[in-house]
Subunit: 413 residues, 3 copies
C-alpha cells in the first residue's frame, strides 16, 4: 500500500539522501582537514563558540519552528527544515572551501558559520514553497540555491570587490527572490483549506520567532571582525535596538491595517524581525543608535504593509502563493537595508566622485544579486516541475499525513 | 464592525505605540551614543555577551512563556510580554542613563542588562493583572513602573548609600507589591471561567519555567563585578544549588498541601524558582553552599505554602486576584532573601555598633522600597481605571479572541 | 479520597524528598566548600560558563522534553525529569567529591559538569521505564544508578587506568543496559493504549530533540582539556559533522524500513543523535572529518534498524518494554563508538604489542561496564518491585492524571 501514499519518499528521497550523503563523506575524506591550530583570525575557543551556537540555534530551531504555525504541517516544517539545513550546510562547506583554498579545505568555526549563512538563505526560500513541495524537491532546492548563492558571492567579490560581509548579508534578498520565482513556477490553482493556524501551532511558531528575535544580534555580528575594537559591540546594539523598534511598530501597523482592528500573531511574527534584517544588510555604515532605530521603524512599516496587502496581490496578480510571506519578511527589509546602506554611505562621503562611484558599484551588486537569484529560481523551479520527483497531489498539500506515520489512535483524542 | 470587539486596540494602542516609539527614537537621536570603545568595566565582547544573551532569554522567552498556561490567553501572554519588555527596556535605558551621566547617555552591554533588570520588575507586576487588562493598560504600567523602580533605585543609592547591586535586586519585592496594588485597585467581581490550563498550555509554560530555571544563575551573576576573583562563580554555584533544592522542596510541599495528594504543575512552576530569587536578593553575603541550600529550602516552603493558601485568602479577604501568584512567586522569596541578608550580615559583623547600623539601614531600604512600590502601584491602578483606556469587558477577560485574529477554520478541528 | 488515586505520592514521595534533601543539605554543610579562586584548570569564568549552560540545557531541557511525546504523560515526563536530575546531580557532586578529595569537597564548574554527566546516564535509564514507574521509584533509580556509575568510573580509573574522559563517556552504554535490566525486571503484561503520540506532543519532543542535537557538540567537548590547542575545537567539528550525517541517514533508513514508506517522527528523533553519541565515546581517536562522518553514518544505520526491529523483538522475546528505545538510541551507538575507538586506536598503533595491550584493556573496560550496569540494574529492579513503593497500577500507566491535578474544565475543550 505504501506507494499509493507517498511515491516520492521511499523510491526517491531515501536513495537520494543516501547517495548524496555518501558522496559528501567521500568528498570530505579526500578534500578536507580539521583546522585544529585555532583559526586564522586569532580567536580562541571561548571567543567564538558561544556565537556559533547562537547561529546554530537560529538556523535549526528558529527557522524550523517559525514555520510550524501550519496546523497540519508542523512535523514536516520542523523536520524537513533540519534535513535541508544539514544537507545545505555540508554542501556549502565544500563549495565555500573550493572558492577560497586551492589545497585542502580547512574546517574551522568560521567556515561552519559561513556555511550556515548560505543555509539561512535556503531556508528563507523554502518558506515560500512550504507545504506545496515534497522533501525531494526541497533537497534539490537546497543544492541548487547553495550553488547559486556561492556563485553570487564569488561574482560580487571578484568582479565588484564587494566586502565579504556585505556579499553574505544579501542572503535575505537572494533567498526571498529565489523563493518567489520557485513558487511562481510551481503555482497550483485552488485553495488549500489546511493552510491555517490554531492556538497551539501559533504558539510553537511564536517560540521559533522569539528565538530568532533573541539571537539575531549574534547572527548579524558573528562574522564582524573584532579587529576594530567595539565594532562588533556596535553591531549588537544596533541590531538590538532595531529589533525592539520593529516589534513595537509591527504590532501597531498590524492593528491599523487589520479590517477588524485586531492583531494577527502570524503577521506580527513575520514583521518583528524586519529591523534586524535591514540593519544586518546595512550594518557596516550604521553608527548611531537613532539610525538603527529609524531603519527598524521603516523596515517594520514596509514589512507589515507588504504582509497585509502585497501577499494577496502577489497571489492574485502574479500567481505567487507565498506561504510564509518571504517577500515581506525578508525581501522588502533586505531591500530597505540596501537603500539605507546606500544613503548613509553617500552621506558619509566627502566628495561627489567617491559617492557616485560607490552608488554605481552598490546598484550593480544589487542588480547582479537579483538577476542571479531570479534566474536560478526559474531554473530550479522548471527542474522541480519534472514529474520524476513525484510532486505532492493538491489535496495532500499542507498535510503531514502524506509523509509521516501516525499512531492509529491519535485521530480520536 | 471593528470597534465592537476591541475598542482599545486600533484607536488607543496603535497611536500610543507609534507616538511613544517615535518619541524614543527622537530622544535616542539627541541624547545617546554607542559606547564602542569596550566598556568601563574592562570586559571584552566574549566576556559579557553570552551572559547578556542569557538575561535576554530570561526576559523575553522565560517570562513570556511562563504565563502561557492560560488556555485561551497564550497568544496575548507571550506577545504582550514582548511588547511590554521592549517598551520598558527602551525607557529604562533612557532613565538609567539620565541618572548616571550628565552628558550623553552611553549604550553598552551593561546598560542594556541593567535596563532588562528593570524590565523584569515590570514583567513580574504584569503577572498579577494578566488577563484582566488590555495592552494599553499594560504599556502604561510599564512606563510608570520603570520610572518608579528607577526612582527607588536612585533613592536607595543616594540617601542610604545602598550598593548598586542590592538596589537592583529588590526588583522582585518591588514588582510583586506593585502588581498586588494594581490588581487590588482593578479588582472585578465574578469568576473567570477561562482562567484554567490544559495539557498543552501547561507544557508551554513548563518550557518558559525551565528556561528561567536554567538561566537564573546568569541573571543573578551578570552584574556581579568580577574584580574579586571567584565572586561571580560563587554566585553561580549558590544560585544553582538553591534552585536545585527549591525544585525538590516545591514538589514535596505541593504534594503535602494538596487536598488530593497530587502534584500541581502550575504550583510547581511558581515555586521552583523561589530559591534563586531569595539567593539573588541576599547574594552578597552568601558564601557557603549550605547557606544557599537552606535559603533555597526555606524559600520553596514559604513560596509553596503561600501559593496554596495565601492566593485564595488574598482573593477573598482583600479582593486581590493575583493571576500568576506573584506574591508567593516573587514577593515572599524576595522578602525571605532580604531577611537572610540581614541575618547573615549580622552574623558576620564583629561588633554590635556595625550590626545595628547595618540593620537600621537595611530595614529602612526595605521600608522605602515597599512604600514606593505600594504608592506607585496605587497611583498606577487609579490611572488605569480611567475609562479612556477602554478596559476589557468581564466576559472578554482571559480570552485571546478579544485581541487576536483567528482563521475562521481554526474553530472546528 | 486522595489515597485511592496516588498512594505513592503523599505518603511516600514527599517524605522521601524532604528527608533526602535535608540530608544533602547537612552533608553539603559539613563536607563542601565553594571553590572560589577560579578552578585548578586555569580557566576563567567566561571560558567555561557558556559550555556549562549548554550541558545544563541538555540535561534539564533536552532530556526533559525528549520524552514529552507520550500524549497523556507529558507533565510527568518533563517534571519528573527535573526532579530526578536535581537529586542525581546533588548526589553525584557528593560521591564524585568523596572519590577525588580526602578533605573538603570543592565545588567548581567542572565538578558540576561531571555531576551532570552522571545525571545524563540516569536520565537515559529512566527513558526505558518511563510511564510504568512512579516518581518514588524514579528517585530510587537515580540514587542507585549514580552510585553504580561512579563506582564503575572509579573501577575503570583505578584498576585499568582508563583516561577520565573515556570512563565518563561510557555513560550511554551504562545507562542503556541499566535501563534495559530495569524494564526487564519490572515487566508487566498487557498493552498500554495510552502509549502513543499526537501532533502537538510530537512537536514538543521535537523541541527537546533539537536542543539535544544543537548542543551535543558542547556535551562532548566540555570536559576536553584545552591544553592541547585545538583539541576541543576538533571534538566540536567531529560531533557536528557526525550529527549532520546522522540526521540525513536516520531519515533515509526510517523511510526504507517503514512498511508504508513513510517517515516516523519519534523514530527520527531517536536516531538523529546516534552519531553524536558514537563520536562522544570514541572522540579521543577521531582526527579526520571523514572518520567522524563514517561513524555518524554507521551509528544512524545501526540505531534506526535497531529502533525498527529490535524494539519489538526485545518486547516479545525478552519481555523488555523499552519506552524511549534507549537500547537503540544510546546503547547501540555507544557500543559502536566503543568499536570505532578500538579500531582507530589499533590503526594508529605502530607495533603489535601496544595494539594488543590496548585491545585487552579496552575490552576489559567494556566488560566491566556492562557487567556492573547489568548487575546494578537487576539489583535496582528487584528493589523497586517491593510493594512498599506502591507501584502504579497497570491502567494508570502512561497517565498524568494519576499524579497531577487538572482543572475540572480542562476535560471538555
Amino acid at each position: 500500500m505504501a506507494p499509493r501514499y507517498t511515491p516520492s519518499l521511499r523510491s526517491r528521497l531515501a536513495p537520494m539522501l543516501l547517495f548524496l550523503q555518501l558522496g559528501f563523506i567521500v568528498i570530505f575524506a579526500f578534500y578536507t582537514e580539521i583546522q585544529s591550530r585555532g583559526n586564522d583570525y586569532g580567536k580562541t575557543f571561548s571567543n567564538i563558540y558561544p556565537e556559533f551556537q547562537d547561529v546554530n540555534v537560529i538556523v535549526i530551531l528558529g527557522f524550523g519552528f517559525l514555520c510550524t504555525f501550519l496546523v497540519r504541517y508542523s512535523f514536516s516544517a520542523s523536520a524537513f527544515n533540519l534535513l535541508v539545513a544539514v544537507m545545505a550546510t555540508q554542501l556549502a562547506i565544500i563549495l565555500n572551501g573550493i572558492e577560497y583554498n586551492r589545497g585542502k579545505i580547512r574546517l574551522d568555526l568560521r567556515s561552519l558559520v559561513e556555511a550556515e549563512m548560505c543555509t539561512a538563505s535556503v531556508l528563507i526560500s523554502i518558506g515560500a514553497v512550504l507545504g506545496k513541495t515534497n522533501p525531494v524537491q526541497l533537497i534539490l532546492i537546497a543544492l541548487l540555491e547553495v550553488s547559486g548563492f556561492i556563485l553570487n558571492k564569488w561574482v560580487l567579490q571578484t568582479l565588484l570587490r564587494v566586502w565579504l560581509l556585505n556579499s553574505i548579508m544579501v542572503l535575505h534578498i537572494f533567498g526571498a527572490f529565489f523563493g518567489l520565482m520557485l513558487t511562481w513556477i510551481l503555482h497550483r490553482e485552488g485553495q488549500f483549506e489546511k493552510e491555517k493556524f490554531d492556538h497551539k501551532t501559533g504558539l510553537f511558531s511564536m517560540l521559533g520567532t522569539v528565538f530568532l528575535w533573541m539571537f539575531w544580534p549574534s547572527f548579524n555580528s558573528v562574522l564582524v571582525d573584532d579587529g576594530t575594537p567595539g565594532r562588533k559591540l556596535g553591531v549588537v546594539y544596533s541590531t538590538y535596538l532595531a529589533l525592539a523598534v520593529s516589534a513595537v511598530t509591527a504590532a501597531a501597523v498590524s492593528m491599523l491595517s487589520s479590517p477588524k482592528g485586531k492583531l494577527n500573531l502570524i503577521h506580527m511574527q513575520s514583521c518583528i524581525l524586519a529591523g534586524g534584517i535591514a540593519v544586518g544588510v546595512s550594518m557596516s555604515v550604521v553608527h548611531q543608535p537613532w539610525e538603527a532605530m529609524t531603519i527598524g521603524f521603516t523596515a517594520a512599516v514596509v514589512s507589515s504593509i507588504g504582509y497585509r496587502y502585497l501577499k494577496l496581490h502577489m497571489l492574485f496578480a502574479f500567481d505567487c502563493h507565498d506561504t510564509c510571506a518571504v517577500l515581506s519578511t525578508h525581501g522588502l527589509p533586505g531591500l530597505l537595508g540596501w537603500v539605507a546602506h546606500l544613503l548613509l554611505k553617500i552621506k558619509d562621503c566627502d566628495d561627489h566622485t567617491t559617492a557616485i562611484r560607490f552608488a554605481v558599484f552598490h546598484i550593480c551588486s544589487l542588480l547582479i544579486t537579483i538577476t542571479l537569484s531570479l534566474s536560478m529560481g526559474i531554473i530550479t523551479g522548471l527542474l522541480l516541475k519534472w514529474n520524476l520527483w513525484r510532486p505532492t497531489q493538491d489535496k495532500k498539500c499542507f498535510d503531514d499525513q502524506a509523509f509521516w506515520e501516525f499512531p492509529h489512535l491519535a485521530v480520536r483524542k
